[in-house]
């Protein structure tokens, strides 16, 4: 299992991750008061995260998306591009949003920086398939969007009061982000099926990690249909949205959470 005790990575790889995290922290601190500066810092942090990713790529000699360390490293790198895209999706440029995204960056880089081991490993045969990278990438992007959606859902629940405009904004923003995340989630499922067919002969294997990703997909489908059935019951929408993220976290960490249920196809993370 790659999840060891918390440990500092005293090498170039670690340094690049910690510098990126420091950048995100500065963005968080300066976002509201000095938003111009924060924008520059955010872009700078992105360059650092790109360097961390490229460095990893060179060290291992393949697309760095094969184990938990690399997955979280990749997530950390997507934060800024998704931040820019989200401004378009949400049609809003509040500096508080930059704060939220910086925190998200810290949260996803934390496991890469402190939890997961980064010893380079040889790629086992089953993972040498060109769709593997896109399959993981689609999921990772989806997860970031869903995480952001859940932030709005949580905000919607916490700040829920008589301010109709605010309630609407929270519910609407959550939906817009799911509207991007859900197709990506579907794409991840699709590419995973193709890969499964080529690697194991089955497009679906009833493996726990597969089932958990199906659960995520279904929870968001329920969310979408609940919106249709009860368009104004924002609190229910929010709860489902957050439940979706809870399922995503379980999916991501399932292999590590449940050493009892071993033997699944998706044990590549171990």
């Amino acid at each position: 299992m790659m999840m060891g005790e918390m440990r500092i990575k005293a090498d170039i790889q670690g340094l690049l991750i910690y510098l990126t995290m420091a950048g995100y922290l500065l963005v968080f601190l300066s976002a509201v008061k000095f938003s111009k500066l924060a924008k520059v810092l955010f872009a700078g942090s992105f360059v650092l995260s790109l360097a961390a990713l490229v460095y990893r790529w060179v060290v291992v000699g393949h697309l760095p998306m094969q184990n938990m360390f690399e997955v979280f490293l990749f997530l950390g790198f997507t934060i800024w591009p998704i931040h820019l895209l989200s401004k378009k999706i949400l049609r809003n440029d509040k500096s508080a949003y930059m704060m939220i995204d910086a925190v998200l960056g810290l949260v996803v880089l934390f496991p890469a920086g402190y939890v997961f081991n980064h010893q380079p490993q040889y790629l086992p045969p089953a993972l040498q398939y060109w769709l593997f990278g896109p399959h993981v990438a689609a999921y990772m992007l989806a997860y970031i969007f869903m995480a952001k959606a859940a932030v709005f859902a949580a905000g919607g629940l916490i700040l829920y009061h008589d301010d109709r405009a605010l309630n609407n904004t929270m519910a609407d923003s959550g939906y817009r982000l799911v509207a991007v995340g859900f197709p990506l989630l579907t794409l991840g499922l699709f590419l995973g099926s193709i890969w499964g067919k080529y690697a194991w002969g089955d497009w679906w294997g009833w493996d726990p990690k597969e089932l958990w990703s199906l659960v995520c997909w279904l929870v968001y489908a329920i969310y979408l249909h609940t919106r249709y059935a009860w368009p104004k019951r924002y609190q229910i929408h929010h709860v489902l949205n957050i439940l979706g993220l809870v399922c995503i976290v379980i999916t991501l960490l399932w292999v590590n959470l449940s050493k009892i249920f071993s033997g699944g196809l998706h044990n590549y993370a171990s």
Partner: protein
């Protein structure tokens, strides 16, 4: 409440049930989950889900008229239907309907040169038969690292040379040189002029061996043999031992398969993990790999491709529908 409102709620209930079943399956592990999802109550559930989708098209005009929505839900039907005809339960049912005899999944174990059309079924219900024969022409493993000969001296100094015919290499501490001079695939001994002489045997079987020449500094050359399947052994009067060190980091398992129909080879391909051979409705996958006394034994998993294309088209249609549905909403800036 109108019928539509009832149906709205029914959809939510059924999707919730689906979610609960999936969570349950995740706690079971893949094997038991597969049995569970193929059980009779679940078959009923799949039919109910399929029916609900179909009813949806009749009841909701938007599912018929707004084609991104049509695509999303029709795609779901395709995935579901494709999955059902290819499943453990659905496969034999379709067979009966078509008057065919086939199977979903099994394993074919072949040695080099062997051919067969009997597939041992994964369900443990005996053998499945292919309408053609599959022959294993060749099987091998590719490694990231290379095989080596490891030489250890009595003072624990050690040295490795690649296990292939190569150049003379200097040993550490000016001990002299070593060189792999010959590689045998099937090493045997025979009497030539009253002396036991090694030779490469043509007959079947395998006994890989390496001939090495070690020249201790200032002394005459010493020839010795290293056998892949024998552990390190001492050699009388010498202060070193040698052994074969197999490569460990597997890069790929490969098998060259021939499909034989009516006595002739109709298809030949090298399969590897992630690269199956397709013939006659089945995919052939590299699944396991082992060695025994006769050489490599290749485990080939055989699985029916029934319904797979329907599923993939279904997924594609869902994805396209989602992009259209949400893309246009986001571009228009309305959330409803």
């Amino acid at each position: 409440m109108s019928f539509r409102q009832h149906l709205n709620i029914a959809v939510l209930w059924v999707l919730t049930a689906f979610t609960v079943f999936s969570v349950r399956g995740a706690f079971m592990g893949a094997e038991r989950a597969k049995v569970f999802f193929n059980s009779m109550p679940m078959v009923l559930f799949w039919c109910l889900l399929l029916l609900l989708f179909i009813i949806g098209f009749f009841v909701y005009a938007s599912l018929r008229k707004r084609w991104p929505l049509t695509a999303i839900h029709a795609g779901c039907i395709l995935v579901l239907a494709g999955g059902m005809v290819g499943s453990e339960k659905g496969h034999p049912l379709v067979d009966r309907f078509l008057g065919k005899s086939s199977f979903t999944k099994g394993t074919l174990e072949l040695r080099q040169g062997q051919s067969s059309n009997h597939v041992e079924l994964d369900s443990g219900t005996g053998n499945g038969e292919l309408l053609f024969t599959v022959r294993l022409k060749d099987a091998f493993i590719e490694y990231y690292d290379k095989p080596a000969i490891h030489i250890q001296f009595s003072d624990h100094t050690h040295f490795s040379v690649p296990a292939e015919v190569g150049k003379e290499m200097a040993l550490p501490d000016n001990r002299g040189t070593v060189q792999v001079t010959k590689v045998y695939r099937n090493f045997k001994l025979k009497q030539v002029d009253g002396r036991m002489t090694p030779y490469e045997a043509d007959e079947s079987g395998s006994n890989p061996a390496y001939e090495l020449v070690l020249v201790p500094d200032g002394k005459p050359p010493e020839t010795f043999f290293v056998f892949e399947r024998m552990p390190m052994h001492t050699m009388g009067g010498r202060d070193y031992r040698a052994e074969y060190v197999a490569p460990r980091m597997v890069k790929d398992y490969k098998s060259t398969l021939q499909v034989i129909e009516e006595g002739g080879v109709v298809k030949e391909a090298t399969i590897e993990v992630n690269k199956p051979l397709y013939y006659g409705g089945y995919h052939f996958y590299q699944s396991t790999f082992a060695y025994d006394q006769t050489g490599p034994v290749s485990g080939i998993s055989v699985s029916s491709s029934r319904g797979v294309w329907v599923v993939f088209v279904g997924y594609g249609v869902i994805f396209a529908g989602l992009v259209m549905q949400f893309g246009s909403k986001l571009l228009k800036g309305v959330a409803r």
